[in-house]
Symmetry: C2
Subunit: 277 residues, 2 copies
């Protein structure tokens, strides 16, 4: 309240063209959607002569190592969890070193950005909230929320930042899980895990809520209205009853049960409320 | 039974490098995962001078217009639903015309493929099946199934094929929905809807099932096993109680209720069974 709502500036890269009234550029909305996704799809162009971009599903979370108290509406980096050996990590490592001193890309972008090192990536997170079954098949739709980020990915080399990102990502899966699991990390664990930091260049989000939107001619079509059922099928992600390993001496803790209950309640409430908008 | 299981040939583009034992190249497995996804993430390189690939969430389904009786283990095309005005459709249209007669790309790929027109795309579908909470944060994982396809997208211009694809995609959302909704399409509906056909060049899928896999030193760590709860949180997509529009004269039909019940039963059973493997 009383604060500015920061937005990613619109450019050729991030501007939503189709149904622009469903778009938002607010950092808080975009960052929330990214954080609410179990998987993020990360697209990049591999170094070989393949004509195809590649998508890898990865786990990630928004954060700021320099200002850990930053909130979701602030400028943030995206931290991605990966593996030393993967193609993408190698690319991020080599882009970081090979682009040092070059500023061609900055000039090409022409948006007054600082020199950007790293691998250009696009990140997408999508949530389906309902199947919209209309009278005409052509008015069928989904309620959904989707976010897209564009940025440059580089390997995190500083151990303190790596730890910060691992804690961030682990707590993003289940709140408080980092402290609740075995600490501290072993040197081998630190070595075998890689973290990518994506410096975000721009982003956007798009959503649909509400119910069926039929054309007038279908609403006035007595034959169709007498034959075609129309309505909304709400869709949500649910976490089932926890399955303990059995070898841990600990009973399923209250905070795990609370997390599951709250996660399910929030998801289900959201999609029913969105369908009624 | 008694049939060959067709697989996409391994190449630089589609070979899974990390944890290769979790990979499959079987057409049936990959095509099933694509069809089971409400959204597909489609990556392509936009025509501007942006360094970033772009991802659009789209709705799609595997099919064969030439051989509609083909099953999921057969070579199939991917049909994607889109809009005439979108950037991607324009690219697919212009790639189709500008690449006619040219075979540079074929030679570059050097894999004996036939001349490929169209926009190079990568398509990804991911399903999270469980959160795996291990003793060490570094052994945390997901159960998941993810599929990736690579191919060339072109606009479908033939009306019969467009109708075939619309029926395929509509029935992919709710089985039988095409015939159960208002028919036939109006000329305006046919005009305003575009379909992309992706000629699939290669693909792969990757999955994890089972429970927590802890390191021996963590299993033997009494302090950790006395303090850290470990287990599996199963994750599944659920469809809630249908919400009728109210203006249709039809009660929620038995086949919609059956679809919702079966969808929920199958999804929930799968993730619990996968966690116990």
């Amino acid at each position: 309240m009383g604060r500015h709502t920061l937005e990613y500036p619109k450019s050729k890269t991030n501007t939503v063209r189709r149904k622009a009234d469903r778009a938002t550029y607010a950092l808080s909305a975009i960052h929330s959607l990214i954080n609410a996704s179990h998987f993020l799809d990360v697209a990049f162009n591999p170094p070989d002569d393949s004509p195809f971009p590649t998508i890898l599903p990865m786990i990630g979370h928004m954060g700021s190592f320099d200002r850990p108290s930053a909130d979701l509406g602030d400028p943030l980096d995206l931290y991605l969890h990966g593996y030393v050996s993967s193609r993408m990590m190698n690319l991020a490592r080599s882009s970081a070193s090979s682009s040092q001193g070059g500023d061609d890309e900055e000039e090409k972008q022409g948006q007054g950005q600082q020199q950007q090192q790293g691998l250009p990536v696009c990140i997408a997170a999508s949530h389906v909230d309902a199947l919209i079954l209309a009278t005409s098949p052509f008015n069928h739709s989904y309620n959904y929320r989707s976010a897209t980020l564009f940025g440059h990915a580089t390997l995190v080399t500083d151990d303190a930042e790596k730890l910060y990102a691992m804690e961030l990502i682990t707590n993003g899966i289940v709140p408080g899980r980092w402290a609740a699991s075995r600490q501290p990390p072993t040197p081998a664990e630190m070595q075998s895990t890689s973290i990518l930091r994506v410096a975000v260049a721009s982003g956007s989000a798009k959503f649909r809520d509400g119910g069926v939107r039929d054309d007038r001619h279908d609403l006035e079509d007595d034959e169709a209205q007498g034959r075609v059922w129309t309505g909304v099928l709400p869709v949500f992600t649910r976490i089932g009853e926890p399955i303990p390993t059995g070898y841990s001496k600990v009973e399923t803790p209250a905070d795990v049960k609370d997390f599951v209950r709250e996660y399910n309640r929030e998801n289900e409430e959201y999609v029913f409320a969105a369908a009624k908008k």
